[in-house]
């Protein structure tokens, strides 16, 4: 088992390396760089750019170096100094910007994952154990609606409804009185009262998908000979269900850790913009627009690494849960 863990971690290294190269190259793909953007913006304002100033900036950020050298400089900074470079646009270190937004993004993602599991688990089991019952049809219908509605639309509808029913604004993370206050119980409750909208918005599609997957998997497992065999040796229905088919059907839940993360990040860009959330999504969107390459590259890198770690975690949990996986990769 430990060899399996070590090997999986070893496999991560080339994956993360490849991701970092690809993300860096993709950022460099559009013609021009941050300085050409800056120069054109200055020209628009009617202040002709000072070539010496631009050259100085270029030398300072190493933009006149060939791309591989830029990459190496960037990576060296990350690996040895935890320095992700400077954001041109914000004129701040990227690490400071990430420290502002990343914890909230991770908290939001985990909250959404939890929400997805808590809702999908009982509904999925119910749908499989009582297939084609009214409850199953209801869950199926709601699930399909959840899959079909785009996230941003759901976000707008929820914001509108919450305003209508509860009054007040639920956009952003904190109400104005808590926005800059230090942490307190009141601030935490305020946070929760704002958080439920993005969690529902981000989690709906995943929940609906997971219900479908759990239902299909469990229905398949319920027809397996070992279920009949378990019944034939006198096991009670509830115990039989929980011990045998459900454990096999749990695999997709664990796998979600891997595939929900990137899905949340991409969905979160739109939702984060609509709901004005201080997450990495809107930050990255802005960085990509202005070719703020170190910021955009760093966000893509961090999110990718988190996804790879999530996949590793789900694989390890899967190996721990399912002896077939464990014994195949001894």
């Amino acid at each position: 088992m430990w060899r399996y863990v070590l090997r999986r971690i070893a496999y991560m290294v080339p994956t993360v390396f490849a991701i970092s190269v690809v993300s860096f190259v993709i950022i460099q793909l559009p013609p021009g760089d941050y300085l050409t953007q800056l120069a054109s913006r200055l020209r628009e304002r009617g202040e002709p750019a000072d070539q010496a100033y631009l050259d100085a900036l270029s030398a300072r950020y190493g933009l006149d170096e060939p791309v591989p050298v830029q990459y190496l400089t960037w990576m060296k900074g990350i690996l040895f100094h935890g320095d992700f470079g400077m954001s041109f646009e914000w004129n701040q270190p990227v690490s400071a910007l990430l420290a502002d937004t990343l914890p909230f993004t991770i908290a939001l993602t985990l909250g959404t994952l939890l929400f997805t599991w808590i809702v999908a688990f009982p509904i999925g089991i119910y749908s499989a154990v009582r297939p084609y019952s009214p409850g199953d049809y209801l869950a199926t219908t709601i699930g399909f609606i959840g899959l079909a509605i785009p996230n941003f639309l759901l976000a707008l509808v929820l914001v509108y409804l919450s305003r209508l029913w509860f009054g007040g604004s639920f956009v952003g993370v904190f109400s104005s009185e808590y926005a800059h206050a230090p942490w307190s119980v009141g601030r935490f409750i305020d946070l929760l009262s704002h958080l439920w909208i993005p969690v529902i918005v981000l989690g709906t599609a995943g929940t609906a998908g997971l219900i479908r997957i759990l239902r299909a998997n469990l229905l398949d497992e319920l027809r397996r000979p070992y279920v009949v065999a378990g019944r034939a040796r006198g096991m009670g229905e509830r115990r039989l269900l929980i011990r045998y088919p459900l454990r096999v059907a749990l695999n997709p839940f664990v796998s979600t850790i891997g595939w929900v993360l990137p899905m949340l990040v991409s969905g979160e860009v739109v939702v984060g913009t609509v709901l004005a959330l201080p997450t990495t999504g809107p930050l990255m969107l802005g960085a990509l627009r202005s070719q703020d390459m170190y910021l955009a590259g760093s966000i893509i890198l961090v999110v990718s690494v988190l996804t790879v770690i999530g996949t590793l975690l789900s694989d390890l949990v899967l190996a721990w849960l399912d002896p077939r996986v464990r014994h195949q990769y001894r």
Binding site: P225, Y226, V228, G234, R243, Y244, V248, P323, R324
Partner: protein, 753 residues
């Protein structure tokens, strides 16, 4: 066994009265079990036989309340009385999810299923599942239950039960899993064991050992067994009483000797005739039951069997449901043949020949055995056989030192960690017009060899020389890609699984016509393909109109005909039939085997017939090669190999085949192989069979690899001691008392049967 056997009338443990289990589907009511009456006596074995779709399993599941929606037990009673102090319980009246029935399941009645690996959960160790069952029905602590579980594993003959306790089902072989299932079923000492086709998915050798085990356990515990099977050979080996089921009803019930000596119902008789036995004369035509079991949803009027019955009386059998007739105290048949007043009831019947009514004391053969085209015409006579064998004609295909190794990659750098030598140097000749049998246990490499010959697999080394009449031999193993195309039409394959081997999204026209389009100078014009496909469909006994249908519309037997049509459309010379009839019911199997032998004569085909079923091989093959762990260990003409085998492995395989004759059961003449097939990635030194060989000797067996040596009459054998072994002896020195006669091992034809 106990005194139960001696007493003239044993107590009924389980009595099923007029049981009906229906499935309420969207297309109407399917009567899976339609009025079954049965009795299982304490300590006895009742065999329930019939083709698939006859409701055997549904009947057995009804007993334990295991029918799942939309099915349910409609009416009838299942009286259960495990011991005399307890009163009768009607299991059918209990709540299927209730506490009372749950106590019966596992504790009073144990059940074993067909697919042992699938019947165990892969998520828990076998020990955990065994302990769970024990604790479900007793008050033992976890530690006591574990001790008990290990004892149970030891009792069912699992080696190293302490270690195996922590194994998962997917780490064990099918035979081992079935032992575990038996241990689980018997751990609470049930009075009755229901075994639903427990050996159908297993090899002959494994089957023999499981049947032995069940017999021993029955002797120890005195339990009764309800044994469901479609294999008459198994029935003859294990049954005390037999119930024959057809379309949800019991059509005949009798003691096993009576069933085999003089079947009363035409269906029983037909079932018995369609088994190829080891005693059969080679290449005779099998008597197949016409047609197939109708779907229970459209049960024929009157007697359900009349559509396939040779003795059907029009106007009676297709109108009136037959009554039950008690022929003897413990003998019963449901057939109009035994109705004394049958002729009075139906005026039309007077026009028929008087039906032979059988006096109750001595039931003879019911129906005069028709020689339904009994095949002398299309079978090569002895003279033709000799011409094929005497070497005047060169071999069609010569395989020399063929090796197929599978590399198992391992680790970060995907290095070859070890090699599995699936085929480890095979020499084989296939002569034009013959049928060469290739037999062995599963995992011995016979399918791999077949696939390497059609070049579906890349051989690792060796040559495959193909020589068509009048042309130069070609080594197929050196050809690549397009060079192979001309030969792919000449060598074709028929696959085992009639359901998995046909693309469900293509019509028969596309499926059967496809190989034609692949030929290098093949028919590309669309006009002639449908004609040839129609012609081919007619040849294999299907209607040309079916051309535009999809495979799902056909039954297993019909699909196998489609498979044969696809193989033969290119007019091949050599056809490799890889377990082509193994997945089929007895009667359908007989139809397909007859078709194959007709086609062989008509189209001048050569067959390589790969099978684990020795009785079928004996029936259809001219010569047989026996394979063990990637090597051919013996090869000879069929009769010679079956009558006088010279390799210990061959004798063991032969003695594992259940003989469809209840008088020849019991231990005599049996050799049971110890252990499983060795791991092909780590074969034993010397003779790879030495770990299982009952004749193992110190000299050479463990050190030298034996080679295939040609003996008299082209009888080849790979055994160091073949010359001086007396294979009529039994399992070596331990049991000098149990010496089998040559008759036992050779299984000489018994004409009196």
């Amino acid at each position: 066994m106990s005194e139960d056997l001696m007493s003239p009338k044993t107590r009924a443990l389980l009595t099923i009265e007029d049981l009906r289990t229906y499935f309420h589907t969207g297309d109407g009511v399917v009567k899976a079990v339609d009025g079954v009456d049965l009795e299982v006596s304490a300590g006895k074995t009742l065999c329930v036989v019939g083709e698939s779709g006859c409701g055997k399993s549904m009947m057995a599941r009804s007993v334990l309340g295991l029918i799942e929606p939309p099915g349910r037990v409609e009416s009838g009673a299942i009286w259960w009385q495990p011991d005399l102090e307890r009163e009768h319980v009607d299991l059918a009246a209990l709540d299927p999810r209730g506490e009372r029935l749950r106590r019966v399941r596992g504790a009073e009645i144990g059940m074993v299923f067909q697919e042992p690996i699938a019947a165990l959960s892969p998520m828990y160790t076998i020990g955990a599942q065994l302990v769970e069952t024990i604790r479900l029905h007793s008050d033992l602590t976890a530690d006591e239950a574990k001790d008990r579980a290990i004892a149970e594993l030891a009792r069912v003959g699992i080696p190293q039960p302490h270690k195996r306790f922590d194994a998962y089902s997917f780490q064990l072989s099918g035979g081992m899993c079935q032992r575990v299932m038996i241990a689980i079923a018997l751990c609470c000492d049930p009075a009755l064991l229901i075994a639903d086709e427990p050996t159908t998915a297993l090899d002959v050798t494994t089957q023999a050992r499981i049947l032995d085990l069940l017999g021993e356990l029955q002797e120890q515990t005195g339990m009764a067994i309800m044994f469901i099977t479609h294999d008459m050979g198994v029935v003859a080996q294990v049954a005390d009483e037999v119930a024959v089921m057809y379309l949800g009803t019991v059509v005949e019930r009798a003691r096993v000797d009576d069933i085999f000596a003089s079947p009363a119902h035409p269906y029983t008789e037909a079932l018995l005739e369609s088994i190829p036995s080891l005693d059969d004369r080679r290449k005779s035509r099998l008597t197949a039951i016409a047609g197939m079991v109708p779907h229970p949803g459209d049960r024929p009027e009157g007697c359900g069997f009349h559509t396939r019955c040779r003795a059907a009386m029009p106007g009676l059998c297709d109108v009136e449901t037959p009554d039950r007739h008690q022929l003897e105290p413990d003998r019963l048949a449901v057939c109009h043949l035994y109705a004394p007043a049958a002729t009075d009831r139906d005026p039309l019947a007077t026009e028929h020949e008087p039906v032979e009514t059988v006096p109750p004391e001595r039931p003879g053969p019911v129906v005069p055995r028709t020689t339904a085209g009994s095949g002398d015409t299309d079978v090569p006579g002895p003279a033709e056989e000799i011409s094929a064998v005497d070497g005047a004609v060169g071999p069609l295909l010569t395989v020399s030192d063929l090796r197929v190794h599978f590399r198992v990659k391992h680790g970060l750098l995907r290095r070859t960690a070890w090699e599995v030598k699936a085929v480890a140097g095979v020499d084989l000749e296939i002569r034009p017009g013959e049928t060469l049998g290739l037999v062995g246990e599963s995992g011995c490499g016979k399918s791999t060899l077949g696939r390497a010959i059609v070049r579906a697999l890349e051989p690792t080394a060796g040559a495959i020389w193909y020589r068509d009449s009048g042309s130069e031999p070609v080594d197929l193993s050196t050809l690549r890609g397009r060079q192979l195309l001309p030969y792919q039409g000449k060598i074709r394959m028929i696959f085992q699984d009639p359901f998995g081997s046909l693309n469900p999204r293509k019509t028969l026209l596309q499926i059967i016509g496809e190989p034609l389009r692949r030929l290098p100078n093949g028919v590309r014009s669309d006009s002639s393909v449908p004609d040839r496909v129609a012609e081919m469909l007619r040849t294999v006994g299907l209607r040309p109109e079916y051309m535009s249908r999809y495979p799902h519309a056909f039954s297993g037997g019909e699909r196998q005909r489609i498979n044969i049509a696809r193989a033969l459309i290119t007019q091949p010379r050599l056809v490799i039939a890889d377990e082509a009839v193994s997945a089929l019911d007895v009667s359908i199997r007989a139809q397909i085997l007859n078709l194959l032998s007709e086609l062989q004569a008509d189209m001048d085909l050569t067959y390589l017939f790969i099978s684990h079923d020795l009785s079928v091989v004996r029936h259809v093959c001219d010569r047989v090669a026996v394979m063990h762990l990637g090597n051919i260990v013996e090869q000879a003409e069929t009769d010679r190999l079956f009558d006088a085998p010279r390799h210990p492995y061959t004798t063991a395989l032969l003695s594992a085949v259940p003989v469809p004759d209840p008088r020849r059961r019991g231990g005599e003449g049996r050799i049971r192989l110890d252990g499983e097939l060795p791991d092909p990635s780590d074969p034993p030194s010397g003779c790879v069979f030495h770990t299982r060989c009952p004749y193992l000797r110190e000299e050479r067996c463990t050190s030298d690899v034996p080679v295939l040596v040609s003996g008299p009459d082209d009888h080849r054998v790979a055994c160091h001691h073949a010359g001086d072994l007396d294979l009529t002896r039994l399992s070596g020195e331990e049991s000098p008392g149990r010496i089998a006669t040559a008759r036992d091992i050779r299984l000489v034809p018994s004409k009196e049967m």
